[in-house]
Assembly symmetry: C2
Homo-oligomer: 186 residues x 2
DNA sequence: AAACTTTTTAAATACCCTTATAAAAAGTAT
DNA sequence: ATACTTTTTATAAGGGTATTTAAAAAGTTT
């Protein structure tokens, strides 16, 4: 008997971007009404886009961080939009932006409850302090990601560099939990 | 078949007190380290007692408000303690304090769940807006009290002038809810 | 003349925040 | 050299806030 496939949803994609040109943050913060800039608090300008929904941290070095994307495509689209906005206010970006996916976060549900006590005893590289945090923190070595396991059978995968790592990690933890008998159909 | 007696607990007794002597609030706030006095915020001095646990609002007119008592006896005892404290710092209280119970709040449990939808339709003088407040607000005319009814079968009685009103109100609402069929053993 | 200020108390909801995870960027601070 | 600062996102448990009710007192503000 085989359980149903776990449902998996990529919830957040973070990428670093190199525009190849120094940027005048004062200019950006003054020209873009949606820009937030409080240098004494954080060195980057913060800009949020609605479509696709994403947030940018723009630095004077010409590098940026894009967060909030739901997919890699979201990130590419958001970067294009951001670059157009910057060029419209006079920032001369001539090179192709170098985009690197740095982190992917996903949520998943195994469809069955997880006995966290059993899981924390049988798995390695695990931290479980329910009074501090309700989930089991499981650092998987391959793929190198961190999973947060909850009693409800839902879990979070963080630190993946690519989509495939997310799928592999969920499949793997599902098998491991099954093997140690910490799963129970609800 | 008769259901068990509802459990009732008096949770708060509020009383007004007249000491019959004008009081120098500046003196009180300086002599009593536990006194709180912020006249621009509230005209009375606030003093909290630990045994019995109660809070006093003391006004320059010589009148006070005592809140937090769990019984009428608590209030009488708290007032005596408060009067002694005031006389110890030089406030000359010679008359017997006039104490009037102004409000009693009680919590109770009927031991059975209440269908609030049914109750709000069948009872008069009722307000039920679950998205604003989870309980049904029922203004009973006799005894004149307000009841807050919850789906769990627990309720709150507020506005009673005497203990007997609390018991009568709980007994009455229990019968009314039973009569309209909004009670269900859990 | 009302409506607000303050204090107390139970009930049960909805919020908020914090806890924890990863990652980059470029500043400040130990 | 670390450890912070900021942004995003799911997950969930705990804490805190708010909501509502009554009542008095004596001030302020509509």
């Amino acid at each position: 008997m085989e359980s149903a496939e776990p449902s998996i949803t990529i919830q957040n994609v973070v990428a670093s971007v190199d525009l190849g040109t120094k940027i005048d943050l004062i200019l950006v913060s003054k020209q873009l009404e949606k820009a937030e800039y409080t240098p004494e608090q954080f060195p980057g300008v913060i800009v949020r886009l609605k479509e696709p929904k994403a947030a940018f941290l723009i630095f004077s070095t010409g590098k940026m961080v894009c967060t909030g994307g739901k997919s890699e495509e979201d990130v590419y689209e958001a970067v294009n939009t951001m670059v157009d906005m910057l060029n419209e206010i006079g920032v001369g970006i001539t090179q192709e932006p170098q985009i690197t996916i740095q982190n992917m976060v996903a949520s998943a549900s195994l469809g069955v409850e997880i006995n966290l006590e059993v899981a924390s005893f049988a798995l390695d590289n695990v931290i479980y302090e329910p009074e501090q945090f309700p989930g089991v923190i499981y650092r998987m070595r391959d793929p190198k990601v961190v999973l947060l396991l909850f009693g409800s059978g839902k879990l979070v995968v963080a630190g993946a560099k690519e989509k495939e790592d997310v799928y592999l990690a969920v499949e793997k933890v599902n098998e491991e939990l099954e093997a140690i008998g910490s799963l129970r159909t609800r």
